[in-house]
Symmetry: C2
Subunit: 472 residues, 2 copies
Amino acid sequence: MFDKQENRIRFDYNNMTQDYIGDKGLSEKELRDAKPLAANAYTKVKDGAGKGWMGWTDLPFNQKEIVADVLETAKGIRRKFKNFVVLGIGGSALGPIAVFQALCHLHYNELPARKRKGPKFYVEDNVDPERMLALLDIIDVKETMFNVVTKSGATSETMSQYLVITELLKKELGEDYKNHVIATTSQSKGNLIKLAKQEGFKTYYIPDSVGGRFSELCPVGLLPAAVLGIDIKMMLKGAGDLYKRANSADPFKNAPLMAALLQYLAMDKGCNISVMMPYADSLKYMADWYCQLWGESLGKAVSLDGELVYAGQTPVKALGVTDQHSQIQLYTEGPFDKVITFIAVDNFRGEYIIPQGLPEYPDVNFLCNNDMGLLLNNERRATEYALTKAQRMNRTIYVPQVNAYTIGQLLMFFMLETAYCGALLNIDTFNQPGVEEGKKATFALFDRKGFEEKKAELNSAKAKSDRFIIKG
Amino acid sequence: MFDKQENRIRFDYNNMTQDYIGDKGLSEKELRDAKPLAANAYTKVKDGAGKGWMGWTDLPFNQKEIVADVLETAKGIRRKFKNFVVLGIGGSALGPIAVFQALCHLHYNELPARKRKGPKFYVEDNVDPERMLALLDIIDVKETMFNVVTKSGATSETMSQYLVITELLKKELGEDYKNHVIATTSQSKGNLIKLAKQEGFKTYYIPDSVGGRFSELCPVGLLPAAVLGIDIKMMLKGAGDLYKRANSADPFKNAPLMAALLQYLAMDKGCNISVMMPYADSLKYMADWYCQLWGESLGKAVSLDGELVYAGQTPVKALGVTDQHSQIQLYTEGPFDKVITFIAVDNFRGEYIIPQGLPEYPDVNFLCNNDMGLLLNNERRATEYALTKAQRMNRTIYVPQVNAYTIGQLLMFFMLETAYCGALLNIDTFNQPGVEEGKKATFALFDRKGFEEKKAELNSAKAKSDRFIIKG
């Protein structure tokens, strides 16, 4: 039934080329001339794999025992708990949300328990008090397992939630509270590992060599997925198979390498925007996950040589067909400043034939007797055609069907594309120095000890002028 | 208790100016020199108000009877139905979703019925068969009211859903099915008004002078909001009050006019991206609604003088603090290509004090005894500070509290800003010619009669080359 050959994703970049979009496209010569650049990026990534911050390349291959442990733990959680809540933000949240949306029922939490066969699922990735109160209105903490996810153990948002939740749990459950918390964190350092040992929480480790936005294939993503009944072995296999096949320094033979090269060359032509537009509700949040990966990895002020480059391409999430009725006007007629990546699904996991009923209305009747999936895919093809005709750079990733194996491939595809593109841009793909200033300023605003200087700096900043504030 | 003065939104653009972000900002002289441009845009919008496609400016003032009818109908629906489902896409969906998220409980559908006091709420704005099947797994159509929303009555997605749903309803309910459908459509033309008359559906009208993306304040938005128990009179009052106060041709005295002028000048400096970043989960989908309004209105190839301009600024939705952990690295260090608009909430509708518990962990302990709302707002202030220090254009709309009155103001603020900006760009803000090509190509792919020529065109398009397709 499950055929790996038939389940390989395909990357189609015809509509990036001059052959298809004329002078707004890339010529085959440009692509061929860039082969040494691509080969160089390939070598850098290959040489770095598994080292430094590139532990994510090993994850499909080195987690046999972890997977067994996760599956065992997940089994118990599925039996015992009514709710499973992830407390995490950024990379600790976006992957789990994306995989949940892709591989679970699209109204999972609203299904009756017997159809769900596992706990309800929530990811709390903000500190809005209205949202925390809303969550507590609908869950009973006594019936809930909380997965606290922060590598550093110092993420303000997650640790605030930790304080809120553990206080409630202790009040309700006393000592037993610790059986309602699983920590996913660094093994070697930080508050959360200390707390986990002290309190006796079940704990999973985020390898030191895996950063937040590259962490979906480690326990950060594996535990929530397994709790949801997702086949995590198959997800890892999909990622691993794609990784192994991306083994050529020639971009014409390596899909994520070509994908990266195309973006690199498009940026050079003024495309500072990358639109990720899946045509499937199930893949909606893969776009959100991609936005962090692409934005945070490539948005860098300084190159590896110390030059000021202000690199980066702004990721934009869109959903087909929905956003045809919102963004396609702009994409078709606005500035030539974007690359649009469609994700197409060959076969949906269900069909719904549009019934007959309005023979006298020709502008509706043509739809009848067709599957909604065909409508979705024909609209995608039509949109692709219209954009191509308007000379807009676009490309399509075809997914045979949304399943654990293809989702694993997609995750690895985008991580590799990001790593290759970072190498092409000659920047550090894996750091995020630009977020430090805001963190320090937050500490100063709370008068945290040690940040008196930052506080003084904030206080000495030019006060806002009422001249530049208008009441609405 | 309700004080209009205290409930006025405020627009703060200090950090767009050279006084605050140095040479990457706009000088006060630039702003003053542009006053005649702004005055001209103001006059165009004022002169056009209520006419042509600008019926939306009248909606706060001319719907007394409609509001009474909507409230009466909503009362019956709240009593009789377990679910209320909007079938609509684009402008028919984004406004209702935004207002629902803003003004209802953040886990509304998961509340027990007695706490909800109204039906569950769904907006179906896609034609994914997996999603349709998922919806039908959790609702019983016999207990559901469907609000079919399409002005033209020819929107393929919505009319497909109409066919699906009416077939199911007829099978279950026979003749009574018509009491489960409310049509919101044009009074003067299209399939849906004909069908509504023929079948006897309760019907609301979308004025001819109101386009989809400007329709939230007509019955498109009013009926769903009223069904959800939202104070629609107050929402209209907020919109109307803001409209009346935006009565100066001087941008320094007219908040949405200044907002538009700033974007216009920023575009000229290379900012082709507009980020909308509310710091409140409740306002998350206001950003989605804004993205359609801004993108579809301003993304135009041709100016009113017939010149090729390829105008437009790509809207990006973000959510604070969540997206600090995804996009702020890029916003701080990437290209100088964006204007970031924060939406700040002065007072949340609930508080949650972060409890004490980790005195020995100084990098967590500083958070304790503070409201989560303060953490959210301090992180916003810190992010604003960091972006300003990095010379990134940013501005903030302050909302005293999220309620029907302030949401009405926000809706009108952005609609006016969009209209003013379209006038500044000298484009047609209210059409969307760029979506026609895709519609026609869809018809052709379905072999619809009358589109044989388009079909031939599609067939004659250059076939894709396998050279440019790589298996992953």
